[in-house]
């Protein structure tokens, strides 16, 4: 079709549309009438003033190192000394000081795993499983220790960024496969399975995340036998993963519903079995169809990890509160929150941009 259109165009010798230059567009959009120019001018001034205030606070009048902390009292800008002095608490929580390298390395490994799984080359069930088992195994070994002469550090001492990343990764790792199973289960041809899965999903979606985490942390020990309980952190993660999976399952199901019935029929007539049709025809298209909401669920989940504070874990936000909570730093909570916000921003913004990139890439060949 494309080549056909091109040849028709050259044959009739149509010209390209007039090229609107940048300066032309600026003039047309911002300074078309005197009133437009006035509006543009006023808004520009306000923006410039706000920008100057922020830059002045954050950079020009700010204090940077811990030794300069006494100067903070007289400075009009930000006192970044608090970050310099307390960043280890923010990043590592209660993790033993001399073992911080393990936590750092674990974070690097986990982020590496997440980044690697963003490359299409890894997008087969086998490669992703191997990648995540290795990445997650290494992360766990580094954090928990107990092998290769690493001292054991139990999960209640984990904290800060490492804990945030651990919860996010573990919830994704358990939740994604579970969500696929739930989505397929709810579309099962066997009414009993479809109903049960539907009930399961709707049950967990009707509960606030907080309730689920509380139940996982506090109530399940009374219900489960000792050997099945595991650490509180693991129970909370499983509860979180079920919550995540129920939402993600509905996103995936929406993607599955959007696939025309003929796709499955074409697979049937080629002799593909159910598993082959699901893995090669249905799921790839379902992920494409609901990519924005799937990415959205990951974004929400990354930010919602902060809720585990309630059941007594010091993920990055709670560690931040602990960091400014002592003595001389109590006034400098804004700087701490800005720092934590920046960390969240880096992760979540990258995730969103990656989602946007994927959408563009996957649109190849779709009309």
């Amino acid at each position: 079709m494309r080549s056909g259109i091109k040849s028709l165009n050259t044959a009739s010798n149509t010209s390209a549309p007039p090229d609107a230059s940048l300066s032309h567009r600026i003039k047309r959009n911002l300074f078309d009438t005197p009133f437009d120019s006035l509006l543009t001018g006023v808004c520009g001034l306000v923006l410039a003033y706000l920008l100057y205030q922020i830059v002045d606070w954050a950079f020009l009048s700010s204090i940077w190192t811990a030794e300069q902390e006494p100067l903070c009292r007289d400075a009009s800008g930000a006192c970044w000394s608090v970050i310099d002095a307390r960043h280890r608490i923010i990043l590592f929580g209660l993790f033993p000081f001399e073992e911080h390298w393990r936590s750092t390395l674990a974070c690097v490994v986990m982020i590496g795993t997440i980044v690697a799984s963003c490359f299409p080359w890894f997008w087969t069930g086998k490669k992703l499983s191997v990648l995540w088992l290795c990445g997650f195994g290494t992360f766990y070994l580094l954090m928990h220790g107990g092998l290769f002469g690493l001292s054991v550090i139990t999960p209640e001492k984990w904290g800060g960024l490492a804990l945030t990343i651990f919860i996010f990764a573990a919830v994704s790792l358990i939740g994604m496969p579970l969500s696929i199973l739930l989505a397929l289960g709810r579309r099962s041809k066997l009414p009993i399975i479809a109903r049960m899965v539907g009930l399961f999903i709707d049950f967990f979606r009707s509960l606030p995340l907080l309730t689920i985490l509380f139940a996982a942390a506090v109530i399940t020990p009374f219900l489960l036998p000792g050997w099945l309980q595991g650490d509180k952190l693991y129970r909370v993660i499983v509860g979180f993963a079920i919550f995540f999976a129920c939402y993600q399952a509905e996103n995936i199901r929406a993607g599955l519903q959007a696939i025309p019935a003929g796709q499955d029929e074409a697979g049937l007539t080629l002799g593909l079995n159910y598993r082959q049709r699901v893995s090669r025809i249905q799921l790839p298209q379902a992920f494409r169809n609901s990519l924005p909401s799937i990415v959205n669920q990951f974004v929400i989940t990354f930010k919602e990890t902060s809720i585990v504070t309630i059941v007594g874990f010091f993920e990055i936000l709670a560690s931040g509160q602990a960091a400014y909570g002592t003595g001389q730093w109590t006034q400098h909570y804004i700087e701490v929150y800005v720092f934590i916000a920046a960390i969240y921003f880096v992760f979540v913004f990258s995730l969103s941009r990656y989602g946007a990139y994927l959408e563009k890439k996957l649109r190849v060949g779709h009309d």
């Binding site: 079709m1 074409a266 049937l268 080629l270 002799g271 779709h366």
Partner: protein, 252 residues
């Protein structure tokens, strides 16, 4: 499956087939025998059950009464049977149903890999030879969305042929195409017919029917109303409903 030809087993045999969608009966007492190598064109007004009939042959639809056998194997609820039959029966759809997330070549090699267990090289060789047969080897690396309707339908035919089927079913293969693209698809179907493929085509392309069909079947309200060789069918239709239908589609 080749010994079926020698044994003179019919490619498709249907007897006493009835089917309902809810309370609505779509197929009524269908009796049909198609021998190997025969080309059948099925026509009739919309809602007459012609698509349902050929969809029953590859069990995309279940029939509720009667017997359907394909190449001597009866279609029942036995899963192994159904898979075996689907591998020997190719189907081309009105809406092409190419997999939009795969290139043309990947569309063709998918089942060769997964079902026929061919390695990549073998599968690609087979796929390319069939894409050449439908005259679009140069589009192999493109995605379906980048092709015209006629090209997509030819890819769909090639994809089915990759499985080396004994029988090809066509469900209104040209109805979704722009007029200038119909002939490129029909040309491919004609050459397939000339090679001796067993074909059941639901189509309103009467020129195609005259040229290749051994038998033309007219269906109305779920019944086979009339069947005959194309010359007698078009020139001397026996049934009033057939006459009415032919007058509606031929006199424009």
């Amino acid at each position: 499956m080749t010994d079926n030809k020698a044994d003179n087993v019919p490619a498709v045999s249907m007897s006493g087939v009835n089917k309902w969608f809810g309370d609505f009966q779509v197929l009524k007492n269908i009796e049909l025998n198609v021998s190997v190598g025969e080309k059948i064109v099925i026509c009739g007004p919309s809602g007459s059950g012609k698509s349902t009939l050929i969809r029953c042959v590859c069990k995309l639809e279940d029939h509720q009464q009667g017997e359907i056998s394909v190449l001597g194997t009866e279609l029942n609820d036995d899963v192994a049977n159904i898979d075996e039959i689907r591998r020997e029966v190719g189907m081309v759809f009105q809406q092409f149903n190419l997999f939009p997330h795969m290139t043309v070549l990947e569309n063709c090699t998918l089942a060769l890999n997964l079902v026929r267990k061919k390695n990549r090289k073998e599968a690609e060789d087979i796929a390319m030879s069939l894409l050449e047969k439908v005259h679009i080897p140069d589009q192999a690396k493109k995605y379906p969305g980048e092709l015209s309707g006629g090209q997509q339908q030819r890819v769909a035919i090639a994809r089915s042929l990759c499985m080396n089927p004994e029988i090809m079913l066509f469900d209104e293969p040209t109805s979704a195409l722009d007029p200038e693209m119909i002939s490129e698809v029909l040309d491919v179907m004609v050459s397939l017919a000339e090679e001796g493929m067993t074909m059941l085509c639901v189509t309103h392309e009467m020129g195609f029917a005259r040229r290749v069909a051994d038998r033309v079947i007219f269906m109305d309200q779920g019944e086979i109303v009339e069947q005959n060789d194309p010359i007698s069918f078009f020139d001397n239709p026996a049934n009033e409903r057939t006459k009415l239908f032919l007058s509606q589609i031929l006199h424009h």
